[in-house]
């Protein structure tokens, strides 16, 4: 139930997530080691286009990757296919995008 387009989308989103995950871990370690407070962190992220792009890209990659992964699991475990499977894939992708976008906007919007 995974044609070439979904397959490529999943592989490419994984390739995108690789460096983003490493970047995210590095940021977390830096923030904790440096003892930054939430206010100091927000002070750096608010209004920052680079942080918006970094975490925005992360959210998009995760949404695509997770939706396709869950689609495969759902299909193989329950046998669901056709329109319902498509609807499930899109719902997961949009749901994750919306939730992620809210978080990104909350920390990067001025």
């Amino acid at each position: 139930m995974l044609g070439i387009r979904l397959y490529m989308a999943q592989r490419l989103s994984a390739m995108m997530m690789g460096p983003l995950v490493l970047g995210h871990l590095a940021v977390m370690i830096y923030a904790i080691q440096g003892g930054l407070s939430s206010a100091e962190i927000l002070g750096r992220t608010k209004g920052s286009i680079p942080w918006f792009l970094f975490y925005g890209a992360f959210v998009l990659a995760v949404s695509v990757h997770a939706a396709i992964g869950l689609r495969v699991i759902l299909h193989e475990v329950t046998g669901l296919k056709g329109r319902l499977l498509e609807a499930f894939t899109w719902a997961v992708m949009l749901g994750l995008t919306v939730m992620g976008a809210r978080a990104v906007l909350a920390v990067t919007l001025l």
């Binding site: 139930m1 995974l2 044609g3 070439i4 397959y7 490529m8 495969v72 299909h75 193989e76 475990v77």
Partner: protein
């Protein structure tokens, strides 16, 4: 597969000179219905799982249905589940697979059951056809015979899989087929990879196209049960990986 209980039957055959027996559970039934039946079979120093099944059919219950032809690992018709794992029964020694003196024999996984140990191979072969497993030559009989060098890289790759005996052991081992019954499966995809590399095949794009759909090679999870269980030590996992690479290249506009 539904398990509905055991029926016991005494071994009516008197065996002289060998009083050791083993307990063999054999799947009996047709379609989705059936149950394991237990037989006591004399244990020999050297015997294959197929020998055991034949013994039951010849000496205890002539109605036991199963399939074999060559007995030497050539025809691919004798594959069954032995103690839960797919095996070619004519080349599987009982000693190697016996657990606690017991043997369980069932029809191949991932295929419908015709009766007892005979699985219906139609879906397996239909997928070979779907995966484009038919050689479509690029030349006609009027053209000169094409010279193929054994060292040609494509030929070397294609050679790796030509010993496939169509036994469906890999297909029975594949968890992706179990979860996604339309998936073409390791053997058919391996065949497509062989054709893809065959220098005599001119339309490689057509080969790729037949394994690109939602049932195609992109569903493989690369866990390699196929390669682990193939009795001929072929590598369907490697073939499927090759198809995926070719597909990814063609996706980016490469020549595939």
């Amino acid at each position: 597969m539904r398990y509905t209980g055991f029926r016991k039957r005494a071994n009516r055959c008197a065996v002289s000179g060998n009083d050791k027996t083993m307990e063999v559970s054999v799947w009996r039934g047709s379609g989705g219905q059936g149950a394991y039946e237990i037989f006591q079979v004399p244990a020999q120093d050297n015997q294959t799982v197929l020998d055991v099944v034949s013994y039951i059919q010849q000496e205890i219950d002539p109605s036991l249905t199963y399939r074999y032809a060559c007995r030497v690992g050539m025809c691919g018709s004798c594959a069954m589940m032995v103690n839960g794992q797919p095996r070619w029964t004519c080349r599987t020694h009982v000693k190697k697979v016996l657990t606690a003196g017991r043997l369980t024999v069932a029809p191949l996984r991932n295929l419908p059951v015709i009766r007892d140990l005979a699985a219906d191979m139609d879906p397996f072969f239909e997928k070979w056809v779907k995966a484009g497993g038919v050689h479509k030559p690029g030349r006609s009989r009027d053209d000169a015979i094409q010279q193929v060098s054994p060292e040609d890289p494509g030929r070397v790759e294609a050679n790796k899989a030509i010993e496939c005996i169509n036994c469906a052991v890999c297909y029975a081992a594949c968890d992706t087929v179990a979860g996604s019954p339309d998936y073409l499966g390791p053997a058919a995809l391996q065949r497509a990879w062989t054709l893809y590399n065959d220098v005599k095949v001119t339309d490689r794009a057509a080969v790729l196209a037949s394994v690109t759909g939602p049932e195609g090679c992109t569903n493989c999870h690369s866990q390699g049960s196929c390669t682990r269980f193939c009795p001929n030590e072929l590598d369907p996992l490697g073939s499927v990986a090759g198809l995926k690479r070719a597909l990814a290249r063609s996706f980016f506009g490469g020549k595939g």
